[in-house]
Amino acid sequence: MSDLRDLYQDLILDHTKRPRNFGPLKNANCRADGHNPLCGDKLTVFVDLENGVVKDVRFQGSGCAISTASASMMTESIKGKTRAEAETLFGKFHQMLTGPQGVELEDSDELGKLVVFSGVKEFPVRVKCATLAWHTLNAALKHQVEPASTE
């Protein structure tokens, strides 16, 4: 059962039960809907982007423990970052979840608390749960009209 604890770490469960920055954002000037058709997870990411900087970000929706915790921790990680920094962080996050086994991630410091999701790598079908919020954020920052999808 040790694998399970790698996936469902206390920090993840904490964010699942008490998601941060949850609910709509009144002053949002970017927003996007995300959908994972595999499990029916749906969420909306709201961003208040000022001069290319994420001044505030919130999300709402329903999903599994991994997708909810990932969305919650994403909002904490990107607040105050520039659009480019947020995109770079997503790149590193994605690399951590999908990169080759056994390869140490460069600059994992940048990921900070997000390394808690490294256990998801052992559960390939759950990678989409962890990345849904990030795909949706990307769509919001690009002002995409079509809902983001993990497919």
Binding site: M1, D3, L4, L7, Y8, L13, K17, L38, C39, G40, D41, K42, S62, G63, C64, A65, I66, T68, F123, V125, R126, C129
Partner: protein
């Protein structure tokens, strides 16, 4: 809930009790493995069931010894293949108690059977303003083909509502039938809730208005004795892979009179009597609906699966699975925070549930870590999820090779889920 076993004859109850599950499990090679360090507990039978070696070997033997194309060769192998293929048609006829073997059409599965009826039967007969009636517990495969026709023809899709137990509301069904109704398409057993629909009564009511009925039997065929003449339905579809047979093969049953009046669904070889560039004469039923080289080996595998099921006895299977479902329902209900979806009086082999504060996807992952395979999601029945206001459910579905010990493993597994989240 009154279980099927209570209404079954004593000899069938004895048969259920005498089902030698340990010996049956020996027939299923896949069940012997470990998954994530634990013995595999396969409870995803409503998605697809596992195959006994009798089916696997029949397909292998057919390819090794008899395989050829059918219906056109004068050579020996072609004759053997044709004979074996057509013998399965007769086997299916007897299995579902159809009046004639030409009423059995081989298709890829229930989905293709439904589409064949949509395009071959209903499309030429459907006018703007006409109505198609389905139920609120249909699988997407018995919704989408009708929506496509509705949109093309400007017709209406009417939905029979279901009650909190997950049963069709009969009075509402009665109200929906009218002079504009052209077809009723309803599932025999719900894949998301396990409800067994009162098909015979539903058919009777539709026939009073001269409305034909298509029954989606995908979930019913592995669990219930099906008699299409007793049901009096006009069409019945099922898939081989849920009946311990191979994927890619299924059956559409249709009353001969209706099939004869229908246009072909697909054009090609084998479905013709003669072809010139000016005119083609179609073959007779069932061949009219089997264009191209069919899944011959799939048909052979389906035949072996039916033999296997009949050797055990579908009534004994029904009774045993009913016992298993009753036991599982009782045990799972004891876990705090569990909500079972679907409490119909007549139910078959499906246990759909949610756990307070835990998404079904997480239940699925945690159970998988303990070697237990269930389905987590909307089960291709999103309107059912909406009806019960849940995004998804966890679903355990049983077959005759499952045991009470496996149900116990499921219950322990679900308790572990609670521990992880509390």
């Amino acid at each position: 809930m009154k279980g099927l076993s209570e209404v079954l004859a004593p000899e069938i109850r004895r048969a259920a009790a005498s089902l030698d599950v340990a010996r049956i499990r020996e027939d299923f090679p896949i069940l012997k493995q470990q998954v994530n360090g634990r013995p595999l507990v396969y409870l995803d039978n409503a998605a697809t069931s596992q195959k006994p070696r009798q089916v696997i070997e029949a397909i292998s033997r057919f390819y090794s010894e008899d395989y050829s194309n059918i219906h056109r060769g004068v050579h020996t192998l072609s004759q053997r293949s044709t004979q074996a293929y057509e013998a399965v048609r007769t086997k299916v006829q007897r299995f579902i108690h159809a009046a004639e073997d030409r009423e059995i059409i081989f298709v890829r599965g229930s989905t293709e059977g439904t589409n064949l009826v949509a395009y071959g039967y209903l499309r030429p007969r459907l006018q703007a303003g006409d109505e198609i009636v389905i139920s609120g517990m249909e699988h997407h495969s018995n919704i989408v083909p009708w929506q496509m026709l509705r949109d093309e023809k400007n017709a209406r899709l009417r939905v029979i509502p279901i009650n909190d137990d997950g049963e069709v509301i009969f009075e509402e069904y009665e109200k929906l039938l009218n002079s504009r109704t052209r077809l009723v398409a309803v599932t025999h057993v719900s894949n998301a809730l396990g409800t067994i629909n009162p098909i015979r009564r539903m058919v009777e009511l539709a026939h009073r208005q001269q409305v034909p009925v298509l029954v989606d039997g995908a979930q019913a065929i592995p669990h219930l004795a099906v008699d299409v003449q007793a049901l009096d339905c006009d069409f019945y579809t099922f898939s081989g892979h849920k009946l311990y047979g191979p994927t890619g093969i299924g059956v559409l049953y249709g009353k001969a009179k209706i099939l004869e009046a229908m246009s072909p669904f697909q054009g090609g070889g084998d479905m013709i009597a003669s072809v010139t560039f000016e005119k083609t004469t179609y073959n007779k039923i069932p061949h009219k609906f089997e264009a191209g080289t069919p899944d011959i080996a799939g048909v052979i595998g389906l035949g072996a699966a039916i033999d296997y099921v009949q050797a055990i006895g579908i009534e004994a299977i029904s009774a045993y699975e009913e016992e298993l479902l009753d036991y599982a329902t009782g045990e799972i209900s004891k876990i705090p925070g569990v909500r079972i979806l679907g409490s119909a009086k007549e139910k078959a082999s499906v246990l759909s549930f949610t756990l307070e504060g835990v998404h079904p996807h997480d239940i699925g992952t945690i159970l998988d870590q303990q070697g237990i395979a269930i389905r987590a999601g909307h089960h291709c029945a999103q309107p059912v999820m909406d009806r019960f206001q849940v995004p998804a459910t966890a679903r355990a579905s049983f077959a005759f090779y499952n045991t009470k010990e496996e149900v116990d493993a499921l219950v322990t597994g679900v308790r572990t889920v609670m521990e992880v989240f509390n």
